[in-house]
């Protein structure tokens, strides 16, 4: 018998060639037209460079050329999944500059629509996140419910996706007569479906294996990168502008800020970011129920609409809690009917910047999950 010599080596001793791989701009998992330049060591991601600008639609250029009300449709098209939420901080800023007090009814309708849109956004986020993991059924369930929300939006504003509904000083149109009943039936439906989704997707063993302990984002890194929304709340920081800097009438409602606890893995992994969105839908339902109860049905939503929108000279920064995080508008007025400049703080852009930091050292397949858990919209990244 000849002696066989056993070759012993450690993984780090193997010197493999690094591979550079392009993901996107046409790729089903990049959630739009994002290009990721990935450097791989075997199957392990060593570097990620996001290349953006494939959907740059020159929002700031349009804001220079248009009058104040004409800018609102372009704001819709920034984060097109949650258009109602987008309009709010912009409208609020001009109202503050001009010193307009909006009627009580308008505030309530704005809160209800913003929260409904938050539910719709999280439904898409969870559906596409499941789709990335290979779960197609929850996608169908969640999109079925989303259609009911869109029907209410359509009855009020006329649009299914992009609304142009929040106007300076009021709303474009009043809600329909059976508004309260419709919204309450939606809330009931959302809760029922969420029970199913919890069994189907969120607490599914296969899904948990895929997302737990993947893409861990520590709280200090999240703060350093300026993340907000479910991304920073998933890391265990209770940062929510609705509680921390209450705008509009959010101080009247009783709701909790959902944070990630690391239920199945480490705090700040993909599972936590997803579960925050999932539980936030329930909190939105609670806000909607309280708002429906307190909301007055009589009153004119257009009575405070100014005839000429000409804010006095000055500048203002307004922010609001978008479903994806803090969305802010810095508006500079020069006293005419056109803004001097509008700078927007895009939530997705800031949240995307943390991707290279948290995806290093994971498998390439996990990179897709990490990108899905950050929940970006390319319209807001590029603007």
């Amino acid at each position: 018998m000849s002696e066989t010599k056993k070759v012993e080596f450690e993984y780090s001793q193997i010197d493999s060639e690094r591979m550079r791989l392009n993901v996107g701009p046409q790729h089903p998992s990049t959630h739009g037209v994002l290009r990721l330049e990935v450097e791989l060591d075997g199957e392990i991601v060593t570097e990620v460079v996001p290349h953006i600008g494939y959907l740059h639609r020159c929002f700031e250029k349009h804001a220079e050329k248009m009058t104040y009300p004409q800018v609102i449709p372009y704001i819709d098209r920034m984060d097109y999944i949650s258009a109602m939420n987008n309009e709010w901080p912009y409208v609020m800023g001009i109202e503050k500059l001009m010193g307009i007090e909006v009627p009580e009814k308008v505030e309530y309708i704005r809160v209800i629509f913003a929260e409904l849109n938050r539910i719709a956004n999280h439904q898409i986020a969870i559906a596409t996140f499941g789709l990335d993991a290979g779960a197609f059924t929850p996608f169908l369930y969640l999109f079925r419910d989303r259609e009911f929300i869109l029907t209410v939006f359509e009855k009020a504003s006329g649009g299914r996706l992009l609304y142009n509904y929040y106007w300076v000083g009021g709303l474009a149109a009043d809600v329909h007569k059976e508004f309260k009943e419709d919204v309450l039936s939606i809330v009931k439906q959302v809760r029922e479906t969420n029970k199913e989704i919890a069994d189907l997707l969120i607490y599914n063993k296969i899904f948990i294996e895929r997302v737990a302990n993947v893409g861990i984002l520590p709280a200090d890194v999240a703060i350093n990168y300026g993340c907000s929304g479910p991304v920073v709340r998933g890391s265990g920081l209770p940062f929510d502008l609705r509680k921390d800097a209450p705008y509009s009438i959010y101080d009247r409602f009783d709701f909790d800020v959902v944070i990630g606890h690391g239920e199945v893995g480490t705090v700040g992994d993909c599972f936590d970011r997803n579960i925050v969105r999932f539980h936030e839908m329930e909190q939105s339902c609670r806000i909607i129920e309280q708002a429906i109860e307190q909301m007055p049905m009589d009153g004119d939503v257009r009575e405070k609409l100014p005839k000429k929108i000409r804010p006095p000279k000055g500048e203002i920064y307004t922010k609001a809690e978008n479903p994806k995080g803090e969305l802010g508008f810095y508006i500079v007025s020069n006293g005419t009917d056109k803004p001097e400049r509008i700078k927007s703080r895009g939530t997705s852009f800031v949240n995307l910047s943390v991707l290279p930091e948290i995806s290093k050292g994971y498998l390439f397949a996990d990179l897709i999950m990490i990108l899905g858990s950050v929940d970006i919209v390319l319209g807001e990244v590029d603007r």
């Binding site: 739009g32 959907l55 740059h56 639609r57 098209r77 999109f143 299914r160």
Partner: protein, 180 residues
Amino acid sequence: MGLLNKLDDPYYGGGIILGKVEDILNWGRSKSDWYLQFGLACCAIEFMAMNASHFDFMRFGCIPRTSPRQADFIIISGTVTFKMAERIKTLYEQMAEPKYVISMGSCANSGGPYWEHGYHVLKGVDRIIPVDVYVPGCPPRPEALEEGMIRLQEKINKQAIFNKRKRLAEEEQKELIISN
């Protein structure tokens, strides 16, 4: 369609279908169009809704393919910037013949809300690739896209398949006569 009614009658049709090969081929082609899974902007969300429960795109026989080599048609769903335009042209060129294009939404049709000040938005995707069906709207409702799909099926049904070289030569001669 009329074909299936014939199958029910045991005496008249007897399960035998008579028709032009072109018609039968086109019937099959138009009912199993596979599309390139490709979203650009806001319209892609409506396109996702089209794929989901309420509208169910797959009943047209449309299955999403992630590779342009396997796709029959492409839906340009959203704003085409100059940076993206060359990618779209590459994708279109990678598709196998016969191939079709549906331009969805105002942005892809003509530049939409960005036609005036959009300094690097392509004013209509038909400037780089030929478009078969235009679907208007910003964004179009899923029902509008369904209508667009039906129009595309009608167009495929009317297409001639055989004697392509002969037809092309005839067309060339006609063009020559017109130009002369």
